[in-house]
């Protein structure tokens, strides 16, 4: 993502360091919003899109999954599988963002 130019990990604790930390935090926030905006459309398409709104068309035209019509299968099985994958992608992606911006979570 282009935002990485704002972030220079590992800056010192000078006065300009504070400003850089702030900039880095802002960049991190923007990047994490981007992650959300990438994942939520997929979430919408696999559930509401395939399972409800375009189900009839998909049942008739998309290839069957085993013996099940595609839209029906998406509504009962496929969407759930996609949800799990989405969360895996989210966890990995956000973990990478935290690493890159050097904003690792404290022990709290």
């Amino acid at each position: 993502m282009s935002d990485s130019s704002h972030a220079t990990p590992g800056t010192g604790d000078t006065a300009s360091g504070d400003a850089r930390t702030l900039a880095r935090q802002r960049a991190h926030r923007r990047s994490s919003l981007k992650v959300i905006l990438c994942l939520l459309p997929i979430w919408f398409v696999v559930s509401y899109g395939c399972g409800i709104l375009f189900r009839d068309w998909l049942d008739a035209n998309a290839p069957k999954v085993g013996n099940a019509p595609f839209g029906f299968w998406m509504a009962q099985q496929g969407s759930i599988i996609c949800f799990v994958l989405l969360l895996v992608v989210y966890a990995v992606w956000m973990g990478k963002l935290d690493d890159r911006f050097n904003l690792e979570d404290g022990q709290e």
Binding site: Q25, H28, R29, S32, V35, I36, L39, L40, W43, S47, Y48, G51, I52, L53, D59, V65, G66, N67, A68, P69, F72, W73, A75, Q76, Q77, S79, I80, I81, F83, V84, L86, L87, V88, Y90, A91, M94, G95, D98, L103, E104, D105, G106, Q107, E108
Partner: protein, 617 residues
């Protein structure tokens, strides 16, 4: 050995295990008591959250809903899993950062007002109450089957167990107990499904059996085609098509998803792990564990549909299987010989002119003559149990059954070994108990901590706080037990769906805007929550209790899905009122900015009130 002995052995063993775990991992400090010390591994926490999340509605009722309504039941399948994506991506990491585990606590601090906190407590009470009602019904169904007693007595037995159970141990004990409960639930749900899948489809993976071929008695046709044929032959709509309108499917699914993201007892679970990165991992595990059950449910539903019809339809009562008579004696199945041929017939609305398949006039539940009535009123000529209802003779359907018994009846119908049935019973009880206990604790903490201590009487001592919590959970259980005996809707999953509608229309927008907008202020939040929840409750009460008819539905949306409309109202009202009133103070805006940055805690946990988990007390 008889079935009862197996049941008691399995349930006894599982209870012994829970109590052992609760005892060995009991809390040794207040922080452990409220949030298990924040040191549970993401994997274990995922399992515990899954057990907490999967209630009687999921475990007992959902497969029944799938069996009855086929495609239409996808609203539950997608709604109760998809919400986790919203919850994980939009809510939990930020709430966790904010450091307030109970929703009213977050609302009270973010919207800097006692009024907002009070309104949030009120919403939490309504949501949890509705949810617990569904659980009580589920507990009642299980105990009535287990001891062969009436469902009313089953509800009362269950309520007293939950009351004592909820008082045990703190969050740490509960977390590890729920890990064990998840294991019991997962095994007891999938093992019967595997047995039945092998019998019907010759495939040991139920999910593949569903999309594979029906192979019983040498036949070989696609399994779903077989279910469709059975359905249409008997006058039901096609299994894979469904009858709900698209608008309805959309709204109900959305209400369930957004409700999931606003449920107070799930949010608190993410305070038991170490940090935000662990929260994300934990959410992955949770959804993975939940999907084990949710991916099996459609298979169980369709299998039991086939089993039920092939075993009962056109079978004479004299030859009816033993389990049918068991369910009949507890009032969960009933048969009225409308055409007096001595055979059980099961037909759908398509076979009548009145376009329904009500066994009794007005679609009533079965009612029975008093036990001391003369023998002629109790037993029919075939030995069947007679009913006090008037039979609806405008359609030929003779078989009534409670939708919620499908999962429990399934192993009987498949003729599975007794230990499998006993395992399933243990799983059902684990499901209902873990959720009911978790909810009850959230409810009582909301009242004792957020209402009494934070608003009414700040000088409350710890001991008085605990007493208020006990009193609150007792009253809540009594009310829930009443509605468990007189359920507000035909099946548990539907009752629980109302709770999600309430959560979606009250907490979801308030939390979301509280996290992502600096501009939203207390006036907006309070009016938004009130408009949202009052609208949703009025709609549900009007159509569920005051006799509103389906012609009057707003855009044809049923009460289950109205939470989605309530949610939009809440969003609009909150934003409009916020824009018309002054912005929140600077330190609140600063706080909102900070919860988006990982690493620095806004408020440290562990001071006198922060970190009080919903599952405490």
């Amino acid at each position: 050995m008889s079935q009862d002995i197996y049941n008691f052995i399995f349930i006894g063993l599982s209870f012994g295990l829970y109590i052992f775990i609760a005892f060995t991992s009991r809390a040794s400090s207040t922080k452990e008591y409220y949030t298990a010390g924040g040191g549970v591994s993401p994997f274990a926490n995922g399992m515990a959250t899954a057990a907490d999340w999967m209630s009687a509605a999921t475990f007992i009722s959902m497969a029944g809903a799938v069996a009855i309504s086929g495609y239409d039941a996808s609203r539950f399948l997608m709604g109760w899993t998809g919400g986790f994506v919203l919850l994980t991506v939009l809510m939990v990491p930020y709430l966790r950062k904010f450091g307030k585990p109970t929703v009213p606590d977050f609302v009270g601090d973010r919207y800097y007002s006692k009024l907002a906190r009070g309104v949030a407590v009120l919403c939490a009470i309504f949501i949890c109450m509705t949810y617990i009602m569904g659980q009580m019904r589920g507990v009642g169904v299980v105990f009535s089957q287990l001891f062969g007693i009436k469902i009313q007595s089953g509800v009362l037995v269950g309520a007293s167990i939950v009351f004592f159970y909820a008082g045990l141990g703190g969050m740490k004990g509960i977390t590890y107990t729920q890990v064990a409960q998840y294991c019991v639930m997962a095994f007891s749900y999938t093992i019967p499904a595997i047995f039945i899948a092998i019998a019907l489809t010759n495939n040991f993976v139920p999910q593949l059996g569903l999309i594979g071929d029906f192979t019983l008695d040498g036949a070989k046709i696609p399994f779903l085609e077989k279910v469709n044929n059975i359905n249409t032959e008997l006058g039901f709509s096609e299994y894979t098509s469904g009858e709900l309108s698209k608008v309805n499917m959309f709204c109900i699914t959305a209400a369930l998803m957004c409700g999931t993201a606003g449920l107070p007892h799930v949010i608190v679970r993410f305070f038991t792990v170490k940090n935000v990165a662990s929260v994300r991992k934990s959410a992955c595990w949770t959804l993975l564990f939940i999907s084990v059950i949710y991916l099996t449910a459609p298979a169980i539903g369709s299998f039991s549909r086939v089993n039920l019809i092939t075993k009962l339809h056109n079978t004479s009562y004299a030859n009816a299987p033993e389990w049918f008579k068991d369910f009949e004696s507890t009032g969960q199945m009933a048969w009225v010989d409308k055409n007096e041929d001595g055979k059980i017939q099961y037909f759908g609305p398509g076979k009548s002119e009145s376009n329904n398949n009500h066994v009794f006039v007005g679609g009533a539940r079965p009612m029975y003559p008093a036990d001391d009535a003369p023998a002629v009123q109790l037993k029919g000529i075939h030995g069947e149990r007679l009913l006090a209802n008037k039979a609806d003779l405008t359609n030929p359907n003779e078989l009534w059954f409670g939708n919620d018994i499908m999962v429990m009846a399934n192993p009987y119908m498949g003729g599975l070994p007794k230990w499998v049935i006993a395992l399933l019973m243990a799983g059902c009880i684990a499901a209902a108990l873990s959720t009911a206990a978790g909810l009850l604790l959230v409810l009582s903490t909301s009242i004792s901590h957020d209402l009494m201590k934070k608003i009414v009487k700040p000088d409350l001592s710890d001991k008085e706080e605990v007493n208020y919590a006990r009193a609150a959970s007792f009253i809540a259980l009594a009310v829930a037990a009443y509605f468990g005996i007189n359920p507000p809707s035909a099946f548990i999953a539907k009752t629980v769906a109302f709770a999600f509608g309430l959560a979606a229309s009250s907490f979801f927008p308030t939390l979301l805007m509280g996290i992502f907008s600096k501009r939203v202020n207390k006036q907006g939040a309070v009016s938004g929550m009130l408009f949202g929840i009052v609208f949703t409750i009025s709609y549900i009460v009007y159509f569920q209790f005051l006799g509103g008819t389906s012609q009057d539905y707003l855009f044809g949306i049923t009460p289950e899905g109205i939470g989605f409309v309530g949610m939009i109202i809440n969003f609009v009202v909150t934003y409009a009122v916020s824009l018309a009133t002054p912005p929140p103070p600077l330190e609140i805006q600063q706080m909102v900015a900070e919860i988006h940055v990982p690493g620095t805690a806004v408020q440290a946990m562990g001071d006198d009130d922060a970190g009080v988990g919903g599952e405490g007390i």
